[in-house]
């Protein structure tokens, strides 16, 4: 086909775009993927037995808040990287700031605690499981988010994959908080962060393959 004819056919096909379609397309995956993760917590991991009580405490919301902020940062990055020439920098800055915040708080609490208690604070009772559970719970959101981003026009695929992974990891960690009974800041700063980082790493790993579009 001649290029001029192609242009004519594209012009004939032109319809107004829905503003916010990129944001909406990616945000919807959190709802769907989050619902699956929630179902997994209910039937597989189980809610924490003291949920009602814990919801009155500060640490429960600290964990949820940290996860939500990282999900938002990942969303921001992904929303930018789903566009050609989009820059993830603002989202990345938010993620790093949030991480630095909880790390500092965690270190502060550790420093104030008696040395004998420090290991227990840091490792809690579930440090081996926590990152793996978060990674597992992130899978549905990650898969959907990658499909969504691919429909747009990412041009830096590895980075866009990592952003989708961070987003999915944040969503998963927020929901995992319904199961997890850990209460230390150092635990949150280390193992939650590791879980979300693993999810981002998986996203980065599969991004170049999963996000390639034609």
């Amino acid at each position: 086909m001649k290029t001029d004819d192609l242009i004519e056919s594209l012009v004939a096909d032109l319809a107004p775009v829905r503003p916010g379609a990129v944001r909406l397309g990616i945000a919807a995956t959190a709802a769907a993927g989050g619902a699956v993760a929630l179902a997994l917590v209910f039937v597989w991991l189980g809610l924490r037995p003291d949920l009602a009580e814990a919801a009155g405490g500060m640490m429960f919301w600290m964990k949820a808040g940290y996860a939500v902020v990282l999900a938002a940062a990942g969303f921001w990055c992904a929303e930018r990287l789903a566009r050609p020439a989009g820059s993830p920098r603002p989202g990345l800055t938010l993620a790093i700031a949030a991480l630095a915040f909880v790390l500092l708080l965690g270190l502060g609490r550790m420093a104030m605690a008696p040395p004998a208690d420090r290991m227990a604070m840091w490792l809690g009772g579930s440090w081996r499981r926590c990152p793996i559970y978060i990674l597992t719970l992130s899978a549905p959101t990650l898969a959907l988010a990658l499909l969504a981003v691919r429909r747009f026009a990412p041009t830096r695929l590895r980075m866009a994959g990592a952003a989708a992974g961070l987003f999915a990891g944040g969503v998963a960690a927020a929901i995992y908080g319904l199961h997890c009974t850990e209460t230390s800041m150092a635990f949150l700063a280390t193992w939650y962060s590791l879980g979300m980082a693993l999810s981002a790493a998986v996203g980065a790993l599969v991004g170049p393959w999963a996000l390639r579009w034609r």
Binding site: M1, T3, D4, L6, I7, E8, L10, V11, A12, D13, L14, A15, P16, V17, R18, A21, V22, A82, R83, P84, A85, G86, S87, R89, P90, F152, A153, T155, R212, R214
Partner: protein, 171 residues
């Protein structure tokens, strides 16, 4: 582009026409004579992508950077499909398509907007040296300063410009 996103067909026809000319030049330079036959295919693929994925253009960003990134993606995809790996340094893209010799519409608009934020003296320097191609000494003489002073001032202006551009991309 914004008008096209709202559904203005005439604006879209004009923009796609202009883009197809620029893209031909862009791909011709990148592909070299050995792949001259593929230029039109690539141009069409890129136009198609720009059309189908126009929703990803954000009006707050420079349009040229957006279209450029699509073209680059298509080019890399082309090489990848042919299993040819070429090392394409990023810098070579900077001055290629989007600062066309005729200084035409879109790129010029973006440039004018960022230049407008600099002090007038620095604007003049950038125009004289980077766009019109005068030497530092000539541009300095025009602005009434020594070559050394012109060099320092130009350097600062470029730094400010880069910072400004980066800010816009992040926006």
């Amino acid at each position: 582009m914004r008008r096209a996103q709202d559904g203005d067909a005439a604006a879209w026809r004009e923009l796609l026409g202009e883009l197809s000319r620029r893209l031909s030049v862009f791909f011709a330079r990148r592909l070299g004579p050995a792949h001259a036959a593929d230029i039109e295919d690539l141009v069409q693929e890129t136009l198609l992508a720009i059309h189908r994925r126009r929703v990803t253009y954000d009006a707050a960003q420079p349009f040229t950077a957006w279209a450029h990134a699509v073209a680059r993606y298509k080019l890399i995809d082309f090489w990848r499909r042919r299993r040819i790996r070429v090392h394409v340094p990023l810098e070579t893209f900077e001055d290629s398509l989007w600062a066309p010799p005729d200084g035409s519409a879109e790129a010029r608009l973006d440039l004018e907007r960022v230049l407008g934020h600099l002090p007038e003296r620095q604007q003049r320097l950038i125009r004289d040296v980077k766009i019109e191609g005068l030497s530092l000494a000539e541009a300095g003489a025009r602005a009434g300063m020594t070559e050394g002073a012109a060099k320092v001032s130009l350097h600062r202006a470029m730094a400010a410009l880069t910072a400004r551009m980066r800010e816009r991309e992040d926006g």
